[in-house]
Amino acid sequence: MSRPMTRRPALALLAALLAVPAAAPAPAAEVLKAAPARLDPKLAYILVRLGKRDEKVWNLVSFYRYDPEAQDLRGKGRAKSNPVPKGEDKAAVIAAKPFLVEDGNYRIYLVAVTPGRWVIASSPTTSYSLGSWQFDAKAGEITHVGTLYMGPENGSSIWPKLAGIHSAPDIEKRAYTVADALLVEPATDATPVPDSLAAFPRRGAELLPAPRFGNHSGQMINAALPLGTVGSP
């Protein structure tokens, strides 16, 4: 007798919840497979070009939300009291795929993220805890970080400037103890941008030093190189 009476309000409530249109957060920290039809004004977009890791392997880079006052990743270590609010992106990881464009030894990636202060946090093997680059990613526009080159400090990189960096012989002997170098080449007018993004608002990232953060990924550690150019392979 009473069942239909109690079920009806429950079903009505469910229908009401499903009918709420804009409560669901937009897809976040999403590495896009193709240029969007339009930019979501609530999201920021990080545009980055990654140089190949070596002749065969594409690279991986992670970005993390950064607390410039505490000098740590938000919600961790010195910035534990400043966590990223629920529903916002803490991190964005760019792996080999998906990418927007491949051109020789480069791939170009576009990542939709929560707007805010971000830091280039790590390569596949190395946390840039000893110094990296931070930048603001603003809502409704593309933040062009430029080109990132990462590779082991053992002379094996295909990029001349990285290939000139070596570690001590006893460190190079064990691949897992070799840290990755990171060189950031800031975006300029000459940095390639896919035609499909040309119409969208875009600005070069203002890259500021991120003096330090904890080694929360448990990787080898290093400091990013000064901003510069890497040379052709």
């Binding site: 110094g131 006893d170 103890t177 840290a179 080694n215 080898m220 550690i221």
Partner: protein, 145 residues
């Protein structure tokens, strides 16, 4: 010889000695020094480098299938031993990278000096390490970082 350095790094990491020893062509015992560094700054650098280096973890290898409990236990012990050795090497490399980035140079010391320098609890040890880092400039050439 190698035992002293591995043990020293392990002491800095966890104030407990390690037991593994391996061959190497790098000098066994060393310390860090930076010309003109204030003692307080050296103390802070040691604390930070210790924090960063102690966090390193070797990458996990693939799981090994074994049909028996004894086999799984043996595989776990072997993997644990390998990972323990890897972690010590990674921690040492991370220490060296940290001090290199902070502008320190690395110098060889004798086994006896190393025993004295890397002894006691962390609080006592870091005072000695900071004294050494901020002390008189070594007369010998620096090691490769």
């Amino acid at each position: 010889m190698r035992v002293v350095r591995i043990a020293a790094i392990a002491c800095v990491l966890a104030a407990v000695p390690a037991s593994a020893a391996e061959e190497a062509d790098d000098p066994d015992n060393f310390f860090f020094h930076k010309p003109g560094v204030a003692r307080e700054a050296a103390l802070a650098d040691w604390e930070e480098c210790r924090d960063l280096a102690s966090a390193v973890e070797p990458p996990r290898g693939p799981s090994i299938y074994t049909p028996t409990v004894a086999g799984a236990a043996a595989a776990g012990i072997v993997q644990g031993f390998i990972r323990g050795g890897q972690r010590r090497h990674m921690a040492e490399a991370a220490f060296r990278k940290c001090f290199q980035v902070k502008g320190y140079a690395r110098y060889e010391i004798s086994k006896e000096e190393a025993k004295q320098l890397y002894s006691g609890g962390w609080k006592e040890m870091r005072e000695k390490l900071a004294d050494k880092a901020a002390g008189p400039a070594p007369s010998q050439p620096a090691l490769v970082p």
